[in-house]
Symmetry: C2
Subunit: 251 residues, 2 copies
């Protein structure tokens, strides 16, 4: 069994305590006790070795025995901006996006969005993300943004020179490519995934005007959460240019 | 709203009845009634247009008005053989694999498998697969095999000249490539995904001896169901040769 791993916000003290849900996982689920070697990660590239110094139902404390060199963010960085799907599918989506290693998730407000998660809901999803990161041995947690509208997401992406990708089944139109944005090798990819009813045609034009390229899945229509995982995986694998999925410019 | 779509085993009669769960979906969920236009698919490439002739709580009957040309299977064909994950994750995995368009799923029996689904369980999953295929507008349903052991899966794949891929984090070893199997363009890809504890070293040797190439995810350790969806998607997109994921021969 690999050394158990826990999220810990602050690795700069000598004997940090784990948060509530991580303490629960250590004490109640894994039944660890004092003396057990563990690994801690802070979700921002910090990783440390330690030994449990005290474990109770309320809190688990770890004495740090060594710190790893800072782990850099994986490349390419992939940001997913998606209209949140309903119910449990949102949670499953964030779990899988964390496992595959995206750097940021933006809950997207669009014309046809049906679900607008409340801030409390997004807070609860932090625990999902943390547990998926622990399990998949990520050193970085994806940032979960507040709900943001499409125009603001696009503006910010252009400011940051992100490559923008539109996952939008069945759209077609005139090719309009902003070459400054799309034809250079990108530091960061942003993939936009619309709600169940799709982006409105005004939104597609707006996205296209920001230099997005289109991603299509040739083998069927994907649900929001499946599209998010599939297209983020293709971008993370550096395979979004595969001719079967790359549909040229959006529009 | 697109024309509602239903699975129907037999499209060769003039006025077929839908099965129990499809009738329920039509009558109770979508509240369709006589006169409504629908599309039927048989999961083997047959698609027909029709009009509901009778809709009751028990059964919905459709009068066929036209038949589409037989839809060929998508290329490449991708077969996923995976140790079934626990509980709901198995269902979620099959749902997503159906959406992205794999052609066959084989529940894999391995040395470290923890879950061996009973035949009744696999039967219930047929409904999941059918509903995912309906939703994603597939013309073909993936075939769900009975639980099969690794050696039999490998034997059959070699007989069929499938390209074999091993998703196995962290393994390394001597490159052993059976060039007859791996270096030609394949009609069909088989991806093998081990249980939570991984394939045993004997199993890795066995898989390697059958000419498998390795797939690795560079951004973290994936759960079974995430690995299945990610690697099947890369194969379906024709992107498994992306240098970031292709680890050469297994071994």
């Amino acid at each position: 069994m690999p050394i158990p791993r826990f999220f810990c916000q602050d690795l700069n003290t000598e004997e940090p305590s784990l948060g509530e849900s991580e303490s629960h996982h250590a004490f109640r689920v894994l039944r660890l006790s004092a003396g057990q070697e563990v690994e801690l990660f802070d979700g921002r590239g910090g990783v440390a070795d330690g030994t449990i110094s005290e474990a109770t139902r309320r809190s688990v404390t770890v004495r740090i025995t060594g710190r790893h060199p800072q782990v850099p963010r994986g490349k390419p960085e992939v940001i997913v901006a998606a209209a949140p799907p309903k119910g449990d599918r949102f949670k499953q989506m964030l779990e899988k996006l964390t496992e595959i290693g995206i750097s940021r998730f933006i809950p997207l407000k669009t014309g046809r969005s049906v679900v607008e998660p409340r801030p409390q809901r997004l807070d609860r999803l932090d625990a999902t993300v943390m547990s998926a990161a622990r399990q998949s041995r990520q050193a970085w947690l994806p940032v979960i943004d507040p709900v943001t509208d499409l125009a603001a997401v696009l503006r910010h992406a252009v400011e940051c020179s992100d490559r923008i990708w539109l996952a939008h089944p069945g759209s077609s139109g005139v090719a309009r490519v902003d070459r400054r944005t799309t034809l250079r090798s990108a530091e960061r990819d942003l993939v936009l995934i619309g709600p169940e009813g799709g982006f409105t045609s005004e939104e597609v034009v707006l996205i296209s005007d920001h230099g997005a390229r289109r991603l299509m899945w040739p083998h069927g229509i994907l649900r929001i959460e499946t599209a998010a995982v599939v297209f983020a995986a293709l971008l993370l694998a550096g395979a979004a240019d595969a001719p079967s999925v790359s549909g040229g410019s959006a529009g």
